[in-house]
C-alpha cells in the first residue's frame, strides 16, 4: 500500500497523530517575543498523518535498506564487517552519553582514560609512536596527516617540498587530500604485478619531494612487497611516508606500518574497528605519527601525568592546531575501545587472518568462472574484471545491479580505475563459509545468465522496490527536493 510514495503524498487534510489537551493558560501573541521577519507567513505544509501511518512509512523505508544485517555486503575497500552489538550497548552508558564537554578534565577522568588507552592500543597495533583521535573521518585523518608533513618540512625551512607521490591504484581521497593540504599530486604507475613501479618512483623523485602516500595492502588487495625498498628511497630523498590505513583490516597483529617505515598514518575506526559507517557517519579517522613528528600532532594532546591523572596538554608550539571541536567523535571511540578489548590481542590477529582467508577463498571460488585481474594470492580483498562479459554485451554494472535481486549488496565497481570493468570484493572476516558459498552460487548463476539471458541481466534489477535507475539523468537533471506545487 502506498508503495514508493513520499510522506507528503500520503498526507490527508486535518488528520493528526496526537491531540493536545485544550489550552488552559492565556494565549500569547508570538509577535511580542519574536520579530516579524522571523515569523513564518506561509504554512509549513507538513504531512498530516496518524501515528501508525507515520511509523509504517518509516519502517517501510528502513526495510528497503540493505545493511550488513540483511545480507552479505562485499563492498571492496569499505570493510563492511559486522559490528558487535555489545559496542552499541556500551556506547549507550549514561556515563558516556550524558557527559558535558565543558565539564573539565578533573571531572571526566573516565572518558579521558578511555581516549588515552585507545591511543595506546592503536599505537601498539600499528607500531606508531603516538595518536590523536580528533579527526572525524578517514579523509579528515588524511588531511591532518598531510598538514603534519607540511608543518614538519616548514619547521626545517624546506619550503620547496611541495610534491606528494600517489600511486595510480590509490583511493580518490588521497589526491583530494593532497590538494586540500596545499600540495601537488604526482601519480606513480603500478607494475605488472600490481605493486608500485620502482623505476617510475625513482624517476619522480627530486628536491620538491614532500612525501609518498601509500595504502598497504593497496586497493587491489595486494601487499606492497617492496615496501622496505620504497621507504628507503623516499627517506633518502628527504620525503616522509604516509600510510593510508583503509586496509588495516588485513594486517593486524601480523605487520605494522610503523615497522614498515611509515612516518604518518590514519586509521578508519569505522572500518577496521567495527564502528558503524551508515549514513555518512559519524566516523573516526585517528592520525598516528612516528616519534619525530609527535610535536606536530593536533592540539591538545591527551596524556597520562605522573600522578596517574589523564590531562590535556595545550603547550604544543609546533602543533598543526585543533582539527575538530572538543576531542573528536567520542561515541565512536567507545565502540572501537570495546571492540579491541573484547577481541583481545589474539582476537585482533585472527580478525586479519580470517579476513584474508575469506577473501582468498572467495577469489579462488570465483576464479572458476570469472577473470581475476592479478592472479596471485590476495590480502583482504581482490579485484575481478567484467571485461570478458563485454563481448556478450554485458557490463560490470549489469552484474552489480542483478546482485540486488538476490538481496546481496554489489561489490565496489569501476574502481580501482586501473582495472577495466573492475569489481572489487571484500567479504570481511565476519562471513561464514556457508554465506560465502551461497554468494559464489549467486554469482555463478548471474555469469551464466550473461550467456543464456543477457537481456534480463541488462535490465536488472527486477525484484527490488525500484528497477534500473537512470544514473545519467539523475546526475544531469537531479531533483533534490519534494515540490508540493507539482501536479
Amino acid at each position: 500500500m502506498g508503495k514508493n510514495k513520499v510522506i507528503f503524498e500520503k498526507s490527508v487534510n486535518n488528520r493528526i497523530a496526537y491531540s493536545l489537551p485544550e489550552c488552559d493558560v492565556p494565549e500569547h501573541n508570538l509577535n511580542k517575543y519574536i520579530p516579524d521577519k522571523f515569523l513564518r507567513v506561509n504554512s509549513a505544509e507538513l504531512p498530516e498523518m496518524s501515528e501508525i501511518d507515520v511509523l509504517r512509512h518509516f519502517i517501510g523505508l528502513s526495510n528497503k535498506n540493505h545493511g550488513v544485517l540483511s545480507g552479505i555486503y562485499p563492498l571492496g575497500s569499505c570493510t563492511m564487517k559486522y559490528n558487535p552489538a555489545i559496542n552499541e550497548e556500551l556506547a549507550k552508558l549514561a556515563g558516556f552519553t550524558d557527559i558535558h564537554p565543558f565539564i573539565g578534565d578533573e571531572n571526566s577522568q573516565g572518558s579521558l582514560k578511555l581516549i588515552y588507552e585507545l591511543q595506546k592500543m592503536l599505537s601498539e597495533i600499528t607500531g606508531m609512536h603516538a595518536f590523536s583521535l580528533q579527526p572525524a573521518a578517514g579523509a579528515h585523518g588524511e588531511l591532518s596527516g598531510l598538514m603534519i608533513i607540511k608543518a614538519y618540512h616548514e619547521k626545517s625551512k624546506e619550503y620547496n617540498r611541495t610534491k606528494i607521490l600517489v600511486p595510480d591504484s590509490a583511493h580518490g581521497t588521497n589526491p583530494a587530500s593532497v590538494s586540500m593540504a596545499g600540495f601537488e599530486t604526482v601519480q606513480i604507475k603500478s607494475d605488472a604485478s600490481g605493486n608500485v613501479d620502482i623505476d617510475d618512483l625513482r624517476a619522480s623523485i627530486d628536491d620538491k619531494l614532500a612525501g609518498l602516500m601509500l595504502t598497504n595492502p593497496n586497493t587491489l588487495g595486494l601487499f606492497e612487497v617492496n615496501i622496505k625498498n620504497i621507504a628507503e628511497i623516499v627517506h633518502e630523498a628527504g620525503g616522509l611516508l604516509y600510510y593510508d590505513g583503509a586496509n588495516q583490516n588485513a594486517i593486524m597483529g601480523i605487520s605494522r606500518p610503523g615497522d614498515m617505515g611509515f612516518d604518518v598514518m590514519h586509521l578508519n575506526l569505522h572500518k577496521t574497528f567495527s564502528t558503524p559507517h551508515g549514513g555518512g557517519g559519524p566516523g573516526s579517522g585517528p592520525v598516528g605519527v612516528s616519534e619525530r613528528l609527535a610535536p606536530f600532532l593536533p592540539c591538545p594532546e591527551i596524556y597520562a601525568d605522573n600522578d596517574g591523572k589523564i590531562r590535556l596538554n595545550y603547550d604544543m608550539p609546533d602543533s598543526i592546531g585543533r582539527v575538530r571541536s572538543f576531542y573528536g567523535n567520542f561515541g565512536v571511540m567507545v565502540k572501537a575501545y570495546a571492540y579491541i578489548l573484547s577481541m583481545g590481542a589474539h582476537g585482533v590477529k585472527s580478525v586479519s587472518e580470517n579476513a584474508v582467508l575469506n577473501a582468498n577463498y572467495l577469489m579462488f571460488k570465483l576464479k572458476e568462472f570469472m577473470k581475476i585481474e592479478y592472479d596471485r594470492k590476495c590480502m583482504h580483498e581482490f579485484v575481478a574484471t567484467g571485461a570478458p562479459l563485454k563481448e556478450k554485451g554485458v557490463s560490470t554494472l549489469d552484474v552489480a545491479k542483478r546482485l540486488l535481486d538476490f538481496s546481496v549488496h554489489a561489490p565496489t565497481v569501476y574502481f580501482p580505475l586501473i582495472v577495466k570493468e573492475a569489481m572489487m570484493f571484500e567479504p570481511t572476516e565476519t562471513e561464514s563459509k556457508e554465506s560465502l558459498d551461497e554468494f559464489v552460487e549467486i554469482m555463478r548463476d548471474i555469469i551464466k545468465e550473461a550467456d543464456e539471458n543477457p537481456e534480463y541481466l541488462k535490465t536488472a534489477p527486477h525484484n527490488t522496490s525500484v528497477g534500473r535507475l537512470d544514473d545519467v539523468k539523475a546526475a544531469r537533471k537531479p531533483i533534490l527536493a519534494w515540490n508540493s506545487d507539482k501536479e
Binding site: G172, A475, R476
Partner: protein, 125 residues
Amino acid sequence: MFIKFTQKHEWVKSEGKTAYIGISDFAQNALGDIVFVELPQTGAKLESGKAFGSVESVKAVSEIYAPVSGTVTEVNSELEDAPELLNADAYESWIVKIELDANSETELDSLMNEEEYGEFCKNES
C-alpha cells in the same frame, strides 16, 4: 589545421598560434555518459602534461591534461549545460581554445598523429 593526440587521450587541433583541445572518442567511450565538465577560466595558463580541468561520467572523474602549453582564450561554455556533447561528437566538441606558447612547436611534434594514436588505442583496449 592538423590533429595530434596524447597518451592520456586528449586531442589538439592547431593552426598557427591557435589551438583547440578536447578528449578523444576513445576517451568518451571509456568514460561512458559524461555528466559534468569542469572548465578552466579564460586567461588560465596551461602547462603541457598538467591537468587543467576534469570530466565526470557516471563511472568516474577524470582529469584533462594539457597536450601543449598555452593560454586559454575561450572555453566551450556550451558544455556546462550539455556535457553530453562530448559523447555525441568528441572531435567537434572542443573544450578550450588556446593561444600557443612559443615553445609549443616541439611539444606538438612529440605527440602522436592520427595513425599512431589508432595503434596506441588498439593496445589499450
